[in-house]
Each structure stands twice: as structure tokens, then as C-alpha cells.
């Protein structure tokens, strides 16, 4: 069946068990206790009254931590339970463990603490002065500073005949996964601590848990269960919730569950980085000749993966254009705001919002059509990127995706209808588009390799396991699809074995649109090893050479047409005492990066995208209605069309939310929009149909030919919308989200 997913039946019948659906015998309940502070020294935490509360088993504070008190994926600056200082409102000062959830909740206000208030730092602009340090162990509030230095920037601008300067900014964005963080942990009779959690990185969760408990990695087993959405947001915070639950279970020697309320989730979990972006672009004879970017990101109270997120902004700061002279600085600062980290898009939606408007501003000034301007400047085969990478190892298809978009959206015809602020009607109309290139997988962020295990049983049924995580996107199904195709067996023969961190080697996080690409690579490697085992045994049975066997329609076939069925073949394997078992791995092709000049082979391949949006703006209310969306992506090769489209639609709508609707409000470090009634995400009746088109140029660098789609789908809709609003109203929107009141006041 085409439209099949391995977890589908469980999910439509309500049988799928998410973390909060798990009940263990004699299970206790744990809740976090927050302070009411933003920035303060902790003088005293008094738990005595809470401990006397009904049903309380234990109140845990930082002094109870047997392992390390601070941890993190890059800088180890996050206090899993705050000990000395409060750095943002989401810091947890204690955990309460009780017999029932009600009793645990009741004891929260009974935890008393005394603080010495410190001056809060509420923006990167204050943070950069370093008058108040958020983390005393560091000399400055600067988390990271990435650079791009290409050509000669002064000479470059001196040679320009037109210079355009512009300023753009974006807001915090909440991931808004429907399932709040949750974890269930127990100490097993073999001493292993078992973790069931809503998280998208089991191996990182294991590292956080082992660190907090002072245990070895082998003593923690993180088990994959269904997860209610992640989008990058269930990396750090989710791992931290799991680690704290494991701590409670370890200290109380009983199973413990901790499930977050939506309010706790929004308060504590990291967000997308707000960016302030100063752009200066120089033109010489119609070509982009020089680019200067000064980008500042709000990192909030902790580092999380800010250095990785903001690094992507260097490679993509100039959009998909050829620019000989570049000087870019991307800086992230600590503040006392909610911390910021991984979020689908990962440092590219912000810079795309800026550059894809700026190219249109320039085209207007030059008096040429924005598509022509893009085509005159964009990356093509063998072009050099802003970070000095020659694009010569895959097909650079920007032309192809842009042409497809123009045709499918009837762009030029609709361009003539645009209102530019004038209309007889009560509505203004506009169409806009944007293009992007996006580096696949982690790139020079980190080590990039992953693993797969195929374990065929002697009855022909197959267990497949891959160290990528099912975030809801259908990663498991895509892996099954690849295996089924290569072995010529129906998907019904393959059971995906949900992995645990004790079963399969660490394959990294399922982030960076790397699931299908990297996991698929590992599966392909395992298939090749498995086939060589099987071919050696089966070849004599069907009178051919091992290399001549083909796998089709549940048969292993010789060139002469002699065959055995898959099941017969596995029976023969049994008689030969040969295990049809293979371990595969895939390491991303090498990448390089020079941190000082921001140059190198940043990513081993790129996805090319173009999206267009049509909008209608109400003249009176200035409310923006999205009429139509067109999305074109070159993702290498389609593995599963239905799942692929699902990524496009979901990514576009999340991007629309960031563009037009989602307005996280922080007042003096306190998040005001604490649930879905005031943090509004798109509902079905507010959206148009999305038309998606896929271009396939199989990627020679990946074994399956596939690249990725999760993030490309999200990263460029906000500038497309901004360009459409401009053509409707004549007003440039330079801040995200683009709200009706901002259109009015401009």
C-alpha cells in the first residue's frame, strides 16, 4: 500500500502510548517548582513545610544531585535544578515527588525561597555592555561570534554604484508541539534506569540523565515511544525533564512520572532566536558585489545549541546568491529571557526574511523585475557560496525550482493584479515569492554519522532498527520503505524495532532534516552487507554468481530466471547456520570550516527551494488573509510522497504562523502568552490549500539519493508573505510577526 505508516493504526485508534499514557505499578508523580524571579541569587530554599504536606514522598533540591549540577550540549552552563542563581523565569528550584499528582501540585506554593534580586538583562543590546554578567564564570555575556570574511569588503563597497541599507528583526517563536513534555522513569532490577520520554534525541537525553545521576551511559536506557511533536523543541528541555524524572525515580527508588502543563512547557522550554539584522548590500553593474551583515541573536539564559543555530546563519546570510565580498558577524548574547535553541529552520528563517526582501528592494531601485534580478545573481552549477564553497558535487537546481514556481503559480499574470496600496475594492491584493538554498544535515556543526541494524528472522520476517528518531514525521516508515524496495519484499514483512539507547549505537539527533538522508544511508549500507551474506549462500542454489542475484517481488532471482522465494531463502540461511543480520552505518561526506574567515565546505549537499504566497489585505482592518501558497523543492529523491507532502504543508503552516500570527510576548522576562488561547497558532479555517511540487535530482552524495524536507519547507515563506504584503499595500514589513497594527502604523 502506498499510504501506510507503521504507527498509523495505533495512532488512529488511540492505542499509541505516549509518555503520559504510561502507568507503572506504584508510580509516583513529580512536579517542578519555579521561582518568581528573573535574575536573582538564591539565598535559601526552605522545603520543610512542603515536605509535611499530604502525600509528599520527597522534595528534591540541587543539593540532592549525585552527579554534575550543570550540563549542556555545548557549554555546560544549564543548572538542571538551580542552586546558586536564577537566570530566567523557567529555572526550577525544586522537584516535588508525591503519591498523587494532586498532592504534588498542592505542595508547590509551600516551597519557600529567599532571594537577592539582581539587575535583569532583558536584551542583547544591554547584554553586550557586560555591565551585568549572567554567568559569572564567563568574562562576557557573548555566547558565540561567527564570522564570514570573503574578498575585500572596503574595496568591494568602494567599487559599488548603489548601496542599500536595511534593518530587520524577528521575535521569539514557541514550538507549540501538541504534547507537552513528559517522562516516566523506573529503576530496573538490573540497576539500569529506564527512561520513557517525549524527546527527539534519546542519546542526548541519556547524556543529560547520566550526568545528573553521576552514572555511566550504559547504566541509563532511554526507550523510544511515540512523541507528540518536536520541531527541534524536544531536544534540551525534553532531555532535562527526562533527567529530572530519572533523578526523582533514583532517589525515591520507585517509578516516577512527570508531565508538564502547557504553561510550564511554554515558560521553561527554549524558543526560536529573535534576531536583529543590519544589512548593507552593494551593487556593481546590477550584480551584488558586497554584503555586510551585523546580526545579533538573543540567546536567553543558557547556551543550549545557540552556536550551532547561529552558525547556519553565516552560510545562509546572503541568500542563494553569488557575492564576492562579504563581511558578516553573527553574535549571540546571554540575557535573562527564556533561552533559545533548536527550532525547525535553525537560524535560516531569520536571515531569509531579511535577504529575500532586500533583493526585491534592490530590484525596485534598479528598476528591474525581481525575478530577473535574482536570476542575474543566483547560485548555479560550480558557483561559489558566500562561505567559499564551490557547488560542484550535486545538481544546483535553483533555476529549475524558480521556473517551476513561476509557471505553477502563474506569477507574472498575477503580478499585474497587485494593488500596491491602491484599490477600488475593500481588499488589496499581492503576490510574493522567495527562494533559498539550504545545507543538508549538520554540516560543519558536528560529527555526523548514524547506524542501522537489519535482523532477518528465519521465517522471513524482518526487524529493522535505525538510530534516527520518530518525531511524527514518519522517519520509521521512510526507513521501512527504503528497505522494502531494496529487498523486493512487501512492507508488511518489516517490523520497525523501536530502538533504545542500549540496543543501537548513538546516531545523533533527528534534527537538521537529516533523518531520511542519514538514516537512509545507514540502511543502504546494512542492506549491502546483508545482501552479500545472503547472496553467498543462495547463489549455488540458483546456479549463478553471488553478484548476479536480483531481489524482486519477494523472490531472489538468477539471470536465467531461476529463483527462490524470500522465505525459502531464509530457510536455506538457517540450514547454512548463517545469520541474515547486518549492521550498517553512514558517515556524512567530509565538511570543513575555518572559523576565522567563515569559509569551507560547510555542507556536503544543499536543498533548493522556491515558495510563493498570495495575500489579501483588508483596507480597513489591515488584516492579512493568505489566499494561496505554492511550494517547490528539489529534495533529491522521493522516498514516500504522502509523508513528503505532509512535511511541506506542516512546514509552510508553521512558517506562516511565524510570519503572521505567533506573537510571543515577554514582559520584563516573564512570558505573557502562556497557553494556546493567547499564543495563537493557525487553525484549519484560516488557511488556504497549499500546492506542492517536488523536483527530483537524485543526490550523488547520499546512498538513497534523498536529501531532506523538514526545514526547507519552513524557512522561506515569511519573506514570500512580506513581498506579497508589499505588493498589496506598498509597505515593507521589517519585523516578524507581521501584524495588522504594524501595517497600519508604517
Amino acid at each position: 500500500m502506498m499510504n501506510w505508516r507503521n504507527d498509523g493504526i495505533a495512532k488512529v485508534t488511540g492505542q499509541a502510548k505516549y509518555a503520559d499514557d504510561i502507568k507503572l505499578f506504584d508510580m509516583l508523580h513529580c512536579v517542578p517548582v519555579y521561582s518568581d524571579q528573573i535574575h536573582a541569587e538564591i539565598l535559601e530554599i526552605d522545603t520543610s513545610s512542603a515536605e509535611k504536606s499530604q502525600g509528599i514522598v520527597r522534595v528534591i533540591t540541587a543539593k540532592d544531585i549525585p552527579g554534575v549540577k550543570k550540563f549542556g550540549q555545548i557549554r555546560k552552563d544549564y543548572s538542571l535544578i538551580a542552586e546558586d542563581k536564577i537566570r530566567y523565569e523557567g529555572d526550577v528550584i525544586a522537584l516535588i515527588v508525591a503519591d498523587t499528582l494532586e498532592n504534588a501540585l498542592e505542595a508547590i506554593p509551600k516551597v519557600k525561597a529567599k532571594y537577592n534580586k539582581l539587575k535583569p538583562v532583558l536584551s542583547p543590546n544591554e547584554a553586550c555592555k557586560n555591565e551585568v554578567l549572567i554567568h559569572d564564570i564567563y568574562e562576557s555575556n557573548l555566547i558565540n561570534h561567527h564570522k564570514v570574511r570573503k574578498g575585500n569588503i572596503d574595496k568591494g563597497f568602494a567599487e559599488c554604484d548603489l548601496v542599500v541599507e536595511d534593518y530587520y528583526e524577528t521575535n521569539f517563536v514557541e514550538h507549540g508541539y501538541l504534547e507537552p513534555e513528559s517522562a516516566v522513569c523506573q529503576v530496573r532490577d538490573d540497576g539500569v534506569i529506564e527512561v520513557y520520554g517525549s524527546m527527539q534525541h534519546p542519546f542526548s537525553t541519556r547524556r543529560f540523565t547520566a550526568a545528573l545521576l553521576g552514572k555511566k551511559l550504559s547504566e541509563i536506557e532511554v526507550i523510544t515511544i511515540p512523541m507528540g511533536g518536536g520541531f527541534g523543541g524536544k531536544d534540551d528541555t525534553a532531555a532535562i525533564v527526562c533527567a529530572r524524572t530519572a533523578l526523582a525515580s533514583w532517589l525515591c527508588k520507585k517509578p516516577v512520572k512527570m508531565t508538564y502543563t502547557r504553561e510550564w512547557s511554554i515558560k521553561e522550554s527554549y524558543k526560536r532566536h529573535p534576531y536583529q539584522m543590519k544589512y548593507k548590500v552593494g551593487l556593481k553593474a546590477g550584480k551584488i558585489h558586497a554584503l555586510e551583515c551585523d546580526i545579533v541573536a538573543d540567546g536567553g539564559a543558557y547556551t543550549s545549541v545557540s552556536p550551532w543555530v547561529t552558525w547556519r546563519s553565516t552560510v545562509q546570510c546572503g541568500g542563494p546568491y553569488i557575492i564576492p565580498n562579504v563581511h558578516t558577524d553573527v553574535k549571540t548574547y546571554y540575557t535573562n529571557n527564556v533561552y533559545t535553541g533548536a527550532f525547525r529552520g535553525f537560524g535560516s528563517p531569520q536571515v531569509n526574511f531579511a535577504i529575500e526582501q532586500i533583493v526585491e528592494v534592490i530590484a525596485d531601485k534598479l528598476g528591474i523585475d525581481a525575478i530577473t534580478f535574482r536570476k542575474n545573481n543566483m547560485l548555479r552549477q560550480n558557483s561559489i557560496t558566500v562561505s567559499q564553497q564551490k557547488l560542484d558535487n550535486h545538481i544546483v537546481s535553483l533555476d529549475q525550482v524558480l521556473d517551476k514556481l513561476i509557471k505553477e503559480s502563474a506569477y507574472y499574470r498575477k503580478l499585474k493584479k497587485c494593488s500596491f496600496g491602491k484599490g477600488d475594492d475593500s481588499k488589496l491584493y499581492g503576490i510574493g515569492l522567495a527562494i533559498s538554498y539550504r545545507g543538508c544535515s549538520l554540516g560543519a556543526e558536528g560529527k555526523d554519522f548514524t547506524s542501522a541494524i537489519i535482523n532477518v528472522q528465519f521465517d522471513g520476517s524482518i526487524l529493522l532498527e535505525v538510530s534516527v528518531h520518530e518525531n511524527g514525521q514518519g522517519a520509521e516508515t521512510a526507513m521501512i520503505n527504503i528497505l522494502a524496495k531494496e529487498l523486493g519484499v512487501p512492507t508488511s514483512k518489516i517490523r520497525y524495532r523501536r530502538s533504545s539507547t542500549s540496543q543501537i549505537p548513538d546516531g545523533g539527533s533527528t534534527v537538521a532534516s537529516r533523518g531520511t538522508l542519514m538514516g537512509g544511508g545507514a540502511v543502504m549500507d546494512a542492506i549491502s552487507k546483508l545482501k552479500s551474506l545472503i547472496n553467498k549462500v543462495i547463489a549455488p542454489e540458483i546456479n549463478c554468481q553471488p553478484s548476479e542475484i536480483t531481489y524482486k517481488k519477494n523472490q531472489l532471482i538468477s539471470p536465467e530466471g531461476k529463483s527462490v522465494s524470500w522465505e525459502e531463502a531464509m530457510g536455506i540461511m538457517f540450514k547454512n547456520c548463517t545469520y541474515p543480520y547486518a549492521f550498517g552505518s553512514f558517515e556524512a561526506p567530509p565538511v570543513t570550516w575555518d572559523e576565522e574567515c567563515g569559509a569551507g565546505k560547510a555542507y556536503f549537499t544543499y536543498v533548493y527551494s522556491a515558495q510563493a504566497a498570495e495575500v489579501e489585505v483588508d483596507i480597513k482592518t489591515k488584516k492579512v488573509k493568505v489566499l494561496d501558497i505554492f511550494a517547490v523543492h528539489d529534495i533529491g529523491k522521493i522516498i514516500n510522497k504522502g509523508l513528503l507532502s505532509g512535511q511541506v504543508y506542516g512546514g509552510v503552516v508553521q512558517g506562516l504562523g511565524m510570519a503572521l500570527k505567533e506573537n510571543l510576548q515577554i514582559n520584563d522576562g516573564h512570558i505573557i502568552t502562556d497557553n494556546f488561547h493567547n499564543y495563537r497558532i493557525y487553525r484549519a479555517n484560516e488557511l488556504p490549500r497549499i500546492h506542492d511540487f517536488i523536483i527530483e535530482n537524485p543526490d550523488p552524495n547520499t546512498p538513497s539519493g534523498a536529501k531532506g524536507i523538514g526545514e526547507p519547507a519552513l524557512e522561506l515563506i515569511s519573506p514570500a508573505i512580506a513581498n506579497a504584503i508589499y505588493r498589496a499595500t506598498g509597505k515593507r514589513m521589517k519585523r516578524l510577526p507581521m501584524l495588522a497594527e504594524d501595517i497600519c502604523t508604517q
Binding site: T13, Q15, Y18, L178, E179, R262, S645, Y649, Q654, A684
Partner: protein, 152 residues
């Protein structure tokens, strides 16, 4: 005092009446297909049908279902046979993380019981009470439109 849940009559105890219906369904009846997404009546993950009307169980108490018929997601499939609406969700790839799916299916079921030939706008309007963060709703809308014929 009784209620009918997924076709089965259940006796209600007096001291359960003030309980939140969502907690009663999940914790007492162990029907964990009904999800808690916001606990504020905004996201729709806790949707159940009460006399075929979609209701947010986080906003109700057990006393609200006395002598009513309640349908949760666990009651949709009969004898291990998926309901055509459930099948349609799978056929159209309308499921990703699956957390909104139970509530979404129940809201759609209530719509199709009333209106066997809904327009796309009517479908979108009916399911606006259920948030989904993964799918952008398009494949959900398609699966509901395609399932309508099974209700005619």
C-alpha cells in the same frame, strides 16, 4: 447514575461527579487515547463526543455525562476493524505525531454524522476547534472529504 461510554454502560459514583471528565476518562477508565494538550479548552486534543456533539473533556465534569452517550477514540473501531474515517486518515497521510488525531477524528465524525456532503470550507470550519502543529491540516481535510461517502 449511569453513563454510556463507547457503547458500554458505566455506573457513576457520587464522589466522582465533580472530577474533571478528562481525568476520569484517562486515569479511571484508562482510555488514554483522549489527550491533554492545553487543559484550557483551546487545543481540542481532549475532544470526546457526547450525544454525538464534540466536547472538550477538560472543560467538563463527570456529572455532565450522566445519562449521556460518550464516544472516545477507542470506540471508533469495531471488532478490530477500522472505521472508514480512521482508514481515510491513514490513506491520506493525515497522521504525523498523532497527538491531535483522536480529537480530530472525533470532531470530523460528528460533522459527517450531521452533514454527509460537506464542502471543504465546512470541513475546515468544523475542525477549527482542533489544533494540529504537524500537518498544516491539508491531508486531514482531504481525508474527511473522502470519508464523507461512507456516511451517505
Amino acid at each position: 447514575m449511569h453513563t454510556i461510554i463507547n457503547g458500554k454502560e458505566i455506573k457513576l459514583k457520587k464522589n466522582d461527579l465533580e472530577k474533571q471528565l478528562l481525568v476520569f476518562i484517562r486515569e479511571d477508565l484508562n482510555l488514554t487515547g483522549t489527550k491533554n494538550g492545553c487543559n484550557k479548552g483551546v487545543c481540542g486534543a481532549c475532544t470526546v463526543l457526547i450525544n454525538n456533539e464534540p466536547k472538550r473533556s477538560c472543560q467538563l465534569k463527570v456529572k455532565d455525562i450522566i445519562n449521556m452517550e460518550v464516544l472516545t477514540i477507542e470506540g471508533m473501531a469495531k471488532d478490530d476493524e477500522l472505521h472508514p474515517l480512521q482508514k481515510s486518515f491513514l490513506d491520506h497521510d493525515a497522521v504525523q505525531c498523532g497527538f491531535c488525531t483522536p480529537g480530530m477524528i472525533l470532531t470530523a465524525h460528528a460533522l459527517l454524522l450531521k452533514n454527509q456532503n460537506p464542502s471543504e470550507a465546512e470541513v475546515r470550519n468544523a475542525i477549527k476547534v482542533n489544533l494540529c502543529r504537524c500537518t498544516g491540516y491539508q491531508q486531514i481535510v482531504d481525508s474527511i472529504l473522502a470519508a464523507a461517502k461512507f456516511y451517505r
